[in-house]
């Protein structure tokens, strides 16, 4: 089993969610996060004074997937999140030892 984490532009979340839904993904977790990557922060001007905002708002998506589905899900996210401009984000995949569905106690891939 795989755990897919994607940090993306907040304004792409709706599109990504729809694409994942269409690809048969049954659940995602979304968190609002702040951070910086190669894009760095941005500058705002208040009454003529420049203010550097170090952290950029991003959305973090987390998805549990079967081993066989992981590569396809990553492709779906790339397609939906890509705007071609700096700050589109990052996706990484890690292995998961165990998944449990709390209600039924099912374990492993059937719990995904």
């Amino acid at each position: 089993m795989k755990f897919i984490t994607a940090v993306v532009k907040p304004q792409r979340v709706a599109t990504i969610k729809d694409a994942l839904h269409e690809a048969g993904v049954s659940g995602i977790t979304v968190t609002e996060v702040d951070g910086f990557g190669r894009q760095k922060g941005h500058t705002e001007v208040y009454r003529g004074a420049s203010v550097t905002v170090d952290f950029v708002q991003k959305a973090k998506l987390e998805i549990l997937a079967k081993d066989s589905d992981a590569a396809k899900i990553v492709d779906v996210i790339i397609a939906a999140a890509n705007t071609g401009s700096i700050g589109d984000g990052k996706i990484w995949v890690t292995s998961v030892e165990e998944v449990v569905r709390v209600r039924t106690g099912e374990r492993g891939e059937t719990a995904i």
Partner: protein
């Protein structure tokens, strides 16, 4: 009641104007509250609301009497004959045919004292002890505001305040008393209290710009009472003052963002709100003395002058946190000088003609004297009051408490539960 010829229309207008001007202080609380960081929002707003509370009490006990009681000689200050509002309940003020009950006038002028001291709080955002601020309000209205209000507002048949009755400088609604006074006092306060921790180093973004726009909008609305109400009669002069207020405020909102667009590339919502205030400030002394086109020029000039002036604090290294000097001080000077240049008897036959109308610099000269004297008295007096408070009860919170934010350390509250 003695046999007074009270004008119902004029009284109604002054009563309504008093309510309009009072609204400006909660509006200022929103304007200032939005400009600071979340951790000191409530403290910022509390400084305005406490100005309403303390200002009201001081005004009725002795402030009104010092400002508008019979002159004690020399045009410097009123006497104590109206302490506790004695001899005001059954009397009237105003020109013949336009008399209003004295309590209406007391109320109207009270709202001016309140907003003026509240304005100063912007210079010392995020770092003043609340208790010290309360003491400061009472001391400042008594020692600084009341005398200056007497100088410029207390017309007593040639024997009242020196600016209005002897010098003959023109100040319709408080360019000296409210604007230049608050600007100079703000500078003194900012210097005595010192810079905020992290000034010029940390990003200090306004935390709620919609608050700022709401506050600016309500200030704009209230300013009609401030300026048009200062005619103290519901007639021609109030109407001229109102249209001029609208023109200059709108013009400055646009000239500020035009300046921004050229200087930094983007017109900002904070700029449009700040510009509106700068324009309303600049037209405050002049609204009853200039033509609508004069008001347009003063508004355009006031917006640009203040947009430029707010950057000076970084160069001069004083932390007038919310730009009281740049907006109220500079705007007030623009308005006072604007009268000296653009005043026209076509707008107000009881006013004067400025340099551009009459060719004579007489009025301009008087305006400069009034502006510089008020600025000097206010700066020195405020510096002394703030220094005494600093050395006795302390005016500034500790570094640690400042870092934590004044809302929790001074009031045990947070503005937001997010």
């Amino acid at each position: 009641m003695t046999n007074l010829q009270i004008s119902g229309a004029d009284t109604a207008w002054v009563l309504a104007s008093s309510a309009l001007v009072l609204l400006m202080t909660p509006a200022l609380a929103l304007f200032y509250g939005g400009l600071v960081r979340t951790k000191s929002t409530l403290n910022m707003m509390m400084m305005s609301f406490s100005a309403i509370g303390v200002g009201t009490i001081v005004w009725i006990l002795w402030g009104y009497s010092l400002a508008f009681g019979p002159d004690t000689g020399g045009g410097l200050i009123g006497d104590l004959s109206h302490v506790g509002l004695a001899q005001t309940l059954d009397t009237a003020v105003g020109a013949e045919g336009h008399q209003i009950p004295t309590p209406a006038f007391v109320m109207f002028q009270m709202t001016f004292a309140i907003i003026t001291v509240a304005l100063l709080s912007g210079a010392i955002a995020d770092r003043a002890k609340f208790g010290a601020w309360v003491v400061f309000i009472a001391a400042w209205i008594t020692l600084i505001y009341a005398p200056i209000a007497h100088w410029a507002f207390a017309s007593q048949g040639g024997n009242g305040g020196w600016i209005i009755d002897k010098l003959g400088a023109l100040d319709f609604a408080g360019g000296t008393v409210v604007e230049i006074n608050s600007g100079a006092a703000a500078l003194a306060l900012a210097i005595v209290l010192g810079r905020r921790e992290g000034f010029k180093r940390d990003a200090m973004r306004p935390h709620n710009i919609p608050f700022i726009l709401l506050g600016a909008g309500l200030l704009w609305f209230g300013w009609f009472g401030f300026n048009a109400g200062s005619a103290l009669a519901a007639g021609h002069l109030a109407s001229v003052a109102m249209i001029n207020t609208q023109i200059a405020t709108a013009a400055a909102a646009m000239s500020w963002i035009a300046y921004e667009r050229i200087k930094t590339g983007k017109p900002t919502t904070l700029g449009v709100a700040s510009g509106a205030i700068a324009g309303a400030v600049a037209i405050t002394p002049s609204c009853g003395f200039v033509t609508p086109l004069g008001a347009l020029v003063i508004g355009l000039g006031g917006g640009v002058a203040s947009a430029y002036a707010v950057s000076l604090k970084y160069k001069l290294n004083y932390d007038d946190s919310l730009d009281v000097v740049g907006i109220h001080g500079v705007g007030g000077v623009v308005g006072m000088i604007g009268i000296g240049l653009l005043a026209s008897k076509a707008a107000n036959s009881a006013g004067g003609d400025g340099l551009f109308i009459s060719g004579s610099p007489d009025l301009l000269f008087k305006q400069v004297i009034a502006a510089t004297t008020v600025a000097a008295f206010s700066f020195i007096g405020t510096w002394l009051i703030a220094t005494v408070i600093s050395k006795t009860i302390g005016f500034r919170v500790s570094r640690e408490r400042e870092m934590m934010g004044l809302d929790t350390v001074e009031h045990a509250e947070s503005a937001y539960d997010l």
